[in-house]
Symmetry: D2
Subunit: 344 residues, 4 copies
């Protein structure tokens, strides 16, 4: 058994970490901080944890040494105190965007400001096991992943590994997301009468997660288009690219089958009948699976690669726990066994 | 053509008034006030009105004389300035709860404070035409109606008019409502990830609209239970009562048929087949109809009376415009012809 | 490890049994039958089970002996073959309504036909551990529970155990349910454009589950009113009753606290602040918890007792697995640890 | 006043025609046919029309001569009887896909079969007034429009008219649609527990409406990707293209402003603040507006053009009535004044 603490545990990724780690057979959660909810039971904020834990939110200023420290703070807050956090734990897993990019210039370009701890960027491993399993096994500093970047990177994974894409052709990624991506704080646009039933293209281009896709895929000509739809948990990335001349459907089958065989949380969904013929995020709520699908227009070489995830799991807390499992030598899937529900 | 102004036009009832009055053939909207949105086009807040009106929100302190003044303010604000508002217009229609009750004691009991303009209470007519058509024809001061009270009062109407109820037996009213009832301001409970998919019994008993039901029905032993469900516009009241000995299903048919024949916006929905066998609020969005249904357990005399409405229309702005039509001598249904959509 | 088989595994309760039993540490699922889906992988129908099991649907006519046999058939089919099913397994758990009632007369009254195996009725234990934990420990034949009956019976549990109710006063139970209660087969009323956003009171009185409430509560004057709302999993029962003279809020607190302390899957939700102040089914999706709440109008003695469940879990497959755990001597909560999600 | 009849009036487009034409000041609906619902009141199927019309469904074999005949049949049925239908009315408006394409080869390519009345194809005018206003003014045979094609064609309209696109670069159109696009018949995929909350990319490429976009835009390299989301009415097309070198944001502003000024049902939605900054279909339910928006990545020339519509209105019945208005010399907007609701 190891000890784990969570800084910023009242938000949605913090709550998901609490759910996963409370039930994790090798972990004891010793601290969960929240300034706003200080002294309250965590189940008052995360009602699914009632009768699961008696933990109360503590103050982030009273941080105790721990084995693994998870940071689930708003973006920008981790880099300011990174020395302090690193000193408090053997392993540090930061779910914010602060340490996802290796290149301070890329950070500046997409976040519009200088990174305040650029020396730390190289120390972190990008916490997506499907791309960095080996490095994560010996990592001490792990970054979280952007949920939209994750759906994109996993949709690109089989195409890149099998080198099927024309890399210089534009890659357009259309992402549809649920409302939990916006976080736990209410705003006029998240008010139920306004948010319910939307198809709202809130970012036609220029979403910050584009930087993570560029970094992890080594593709230059990538654009993300973000559209909110009526769902709570879930993100679906539809990648539009062009295959190299001669690439056929059977090459895609081989590439995708290979990827799902090598990765316990990847599944291929491509069926001719039934209701569930393509990846759909709704059945992934609470699960760490990423479901992949694809199609090819043989006339034009237009390839469509699809990835569905739960943005709070594979797109955030699930990948973080999976990365922790690798770093600490646990079974990769430990504590992440919930397969999702049907119907849901 | 008459002039109309709306005080507090940035909320949901104000927006619905704007939609109805902008399209009303006998009305010109000359002023719509909002402190918060001062100077903005009304269509920036109510996006359905783009290309419908070039009106901008003006200041409530620059109120100009008008023929009809609608007050769509938060509860409690109309009574403080009632003299000023009454002086500014020939007809005053207040959609808040301030002047719905005739008895200052009843107001104190349910609102927990003294009414500050009790002398005005008797001057107002309760703006539900199905109950006060005649008085509204000569009214100058008209109150709006509570949405939940309206669904309850209309469900009770046929039973009361035909004197079918055992008045001393308890009347339990279970009301299920959509999220627009909570108004246009976001709060933690209205945040989409929290509000979507709820069945949330937020008021097991004691809802303030109970007072309007007691006043309008003359029934003493009435209790309202409020449950929020996943819908934006709509309220359904299920009234549970007991019929007098000997009352049979055919008596109920007669009573309900009579009510819907006498009232242009009441409809009876009671079918043996098809999808729409009972009243449902979803198909009433934007419509001023109230759909009624009923059933009777002949063994016990337990009568179930159902009323579905759009809370923003029949439960608020629609009844207000209908009352205005009566008071000004227009056709009762003028400007209220939209029948609702299917599917929706 | 024991073997378990499921007859009728392509429906929603069958799928939920498959999810629970596939992950259950003491159970191996050896057979799952479906005539319609014969030969297909179970994950083609229940897509959450992809990569969880390679089981295929087999024929119900090729039933092999097993330790525990679950019947998830449409109502009416189990009683015809009960001898055959009983011969095939040491333990029989029937999730249909066929063996829930002990009294053939009560069955005839509510189901409108004679029971065809009345001699078996007495052999079954009603599979709700909160009411029959002791008997279930030595049971061989266990009936499932009606989902709406379960929400009602658990809402009544603390009131009955503490003898707080005036038993002769009418008990009105208003139940709001999601769409999964209607089962896995599409019909005109379940078509998404028609079913989405409904508040549809499809059974004002006379729902068959009333019989189970009468049987289990020993209350005579009970009526259930059923309303469909927009949700997939979940049922909320709001019980309206009358307390005995002198019963106060503190007596209710004591009764409910006692009930949740004695039962691992009961929780009390009654808070003054926060979003989750009352029981809500949405956060229970996939969980076996039943959340209880209550309120009392001290002026009238009107008590409101609320119970939220996932109809496919506590209201069906969850209680069935919990009952199996008791009958076979496993830990009561084994395989039922998933706490539900937030947000969801 | 003219007479109008509707063949195939029990589906969703037929129902929407009934709603529009029943309220149209210059039209009397004399016949609405349905084999399945023969003899039933139309309001039993379209519950919003209760108290609006006493019309009953009649038999399509008892077709009487009429001024305008609307065909709302399943695709493929109009072409077989086109002579008969043309003989029965002065004006024929076919909402199916049968006469949308001018070129029989294009029809064969996309519909996979020979057109059975190819000689009629040239007689029809494509019923989208924004593209064919002049021709529609003298048309006798008018085709309906594909809903997804319409969202695409209107998104492309300003770009094409101002000749801003690099025509040889690929045009990717991502369309998100509600469930009413699938029609009024239930199927396993439209069952509420399965359809609710989906993000389901059911056609990655090759959707038949692509043919209409190619025909109307004269662009060759066009691909449509279709994704179902949780909404009933509404479609949003996001067009991804490339602008010619030198084209800047101000050129786009000019092009879009021009388009919305020339067309009564086009609106431009592009705001910097507020909730409704981009086109959203939800507020268009029941309205004939098409809301347009755009953005440009100046670094790459990647232009994103967005169009939101109600698929049953601008995407079907609304455009059909608008076309009828033009053909018969009525005011173009007559009977199409409903602006939509907020909130909704």
């Amino acid at each position: 058994m190891i000890n784990a603490s969570i800084i910023g545990a009242s938000g949605y990724t913090g709550g998901e970490l609490l759910r996963l780690l409370t039930a994790h057979p090798e972990v004891e959660v010793v601290q969960a901080t929240s300034r706003k909810k200080l002294g309250e039971y965590v189940y008052q904020t995360h009602p699914n944890l009632r009768k699961q834990t008696k933990l109360k939110f503590s103050s982030p200023t009273a941080l105790e040494p721990t084995d693994v420290l998870f940071l689930a703070l708003p973006h920008g807050q981790a880099q300011g105190n990174i020395e302090e956090y690193a000193a408090a734990a053997d392993y540090l897993i930061d779910l914010s965007a602060d340490f996802r990019l290796r290149d301070p210039d890329l950070y500046r370009e997409w976040y519009g400001e200088e990174h305040t701890a650029p020396g730390w960027l190289e120390k972190f491993i990008y916490g997506l096991p499907e791309l960095h399993r080996e490095e994560l096994s010996s990592a001490r500093y792990i970054s979280g992943v952007g949920c939209n970047a994750t759906a994109s990177n996993l949709a690109l994974l089989p195409l890149r590994q099998a080198e099927l894409l024309e890399a210089e052709k534009p890659i357009l990624i259309e992402i549809k997301v649920g409302s939990s991506e916006g976080g736990a704080s209410a705003n006029p646009g998240s008010h139920h009468p306004e948010r319910s039933g939307v198809i709202r293209t809130y970012a036609p281009y220029g979403h910050r997660h584009t930087a993570e896709v560029i970094q992890e895929s080594s593709l230059e000509n990538v654009s993300l288009t973000m559209t909110s739809v009526d769902l709570i948990r879930g993100a679906l990335a539809t990648v539009h690219g062009t295959v190299k001349p001669g690439v056929a459907l059977k090459d895609l089958w081989k590439a995708y089958r290979g990827a799902v065989n090598e990765n316990p949380f990847l599944r291929l969904v491509k069926a001719r009948r039934g209701v569930y013929r393509v990846p759909e995020p709704k059945i992934l709520a609470g699960s760490n699976y990423a479901d992949l699908g694809f199609d090819l227009d043989p006339k034009t070489g237009h390839v469509i690669s699809i990835c569905a995830i739960d943005n709070l799991m594979k797109g955030a807390s699930g990948s973080a726990v999976q990365s922790m499992n690798l770093a600490l030598g646990f079974e990769e899937t430990l504590g992440l066994e919930f397969p999702g529900l049907h119907p849901v």
